[in-house]
Symmetry: C2
Subunit: 192 residues, 2 copies
């Protein structure tokens, strides 16, 4: 009774494809990267590749999901600017994937798009994550508490996304500075 269920050869091949697709999009960006190119690097025909995915958008969504999962594994605990620093560094090393992320965010505005659920879940997970961190810092007295931590978290998450959008056009913008600045603004000012 060898491999059965979702752990057979097929599942391994699917993950190989996702890994190859991630590399191709990281290297060549979102625009101008065709599925035929990805299939070729997998030593597969296009229909052979499509055997594992419902559509191109489904494949791309799973690429982002796989990247999210690995990032989550590496940053199990959110530690503020420190964690953010690592995450943006990973983005800066793979501009093609940032481009993919932003393109998908636009496409996901259609509720029927496969990535719509991904982005909804993503924000639903990240915001409480950041909120918990902020609440902890507030309890320690390290942060001013004029605003509830939920609303501060909304600001931090949106800020991170917005900086990335600018960085796509101008790679010289400092993605770290605005986050450092706002943490400075939030640092308990009554001590100063």
């Amino acid at each position: 009774m060898a491999r059965r269920g979702p752990y057979g050869k097929g599942e391994a091949k699917r993950e190989e494809i996702l890994q190859v697709a991630l590399e191709v999009f990281a290297q060549e960006g979102y625009r101008g990267t065709s599925l035929r190119k990805v299939a070729a690097r997998c030593h597969l025909s296009l229909p052979g590749l499509m055997h594992y995915f419902n559509s191109k958008e489904d494949l791309l969504t799973q690429v982002l999901r796989a990247r999210d999962a690995s990032a989550r594994a590496r940053h199990a605990e959110f530690k503020g600017a420190e964690t953010y620093r690592s995450i943006i560094q990973e983005g800066a090393d793979t501009p093609g994937l940032v481009e993919l992320f932003v393109s998908m965010a636009a496409a996901a505005s259609d509720p029927t798009h496969p990535a719509h659920g991904l982005f909804a879940e993503r924000y639903a997970e990240i915001r409480p994550h950041v909120t918990d961190y902020l609440r902890r810092r507030m309890d320690e007295g390290a942060l001013r508490s004029d605003l509830p931590p939920e609303r501060l978290a909304a600001i931090l998450v949106a800020l991170a996304d917005g900086i990335q959008l600018q960085w796509l056009t101008d790679r010289s913008v400092d993605m770290q500075q605005p986050i450092d600045d706002i943490m400075l603004l939030l640092a308990a000012p009554r001590e100063a």
Copy 2:
């Protein structure tokens, strides 16, 4: 000496095309809107339309430029949260154009893309605009000045973009709240 130079019938037709394209993309979004569809609404064939533009990406870039120009005319002076409120309301009324904007921002990461210059100019214009406003408010003593206005402006601009990105996926997010919140944070706290 009738119409000559860039003010003849051709220029009028070009602007008609841009207006029609803006409407089509506003209604049907970026994905799944082809140039043939735009051409049809202009009572033109595809090559007839392409006579006025170098490429699809060129046309879309000019659509965004035209929208920017009209927005600039309507909001000649940046008046803080008030102006922002009007601008996001216009975005909320035309989600297809927000989707177009974000998609183009991703594509513009390629320096050879026609929209690359647009986004570069855009940020180069908006940031000083917001900076001036903040500096004025600081001089009035209405804002705390722990940070230079340039850095505060960078935060505000990125925040606005990032909120839009989230709003594309979840139309229930409040695009106004985070801006109001951060202005609250910046309001001279030593008076409270």
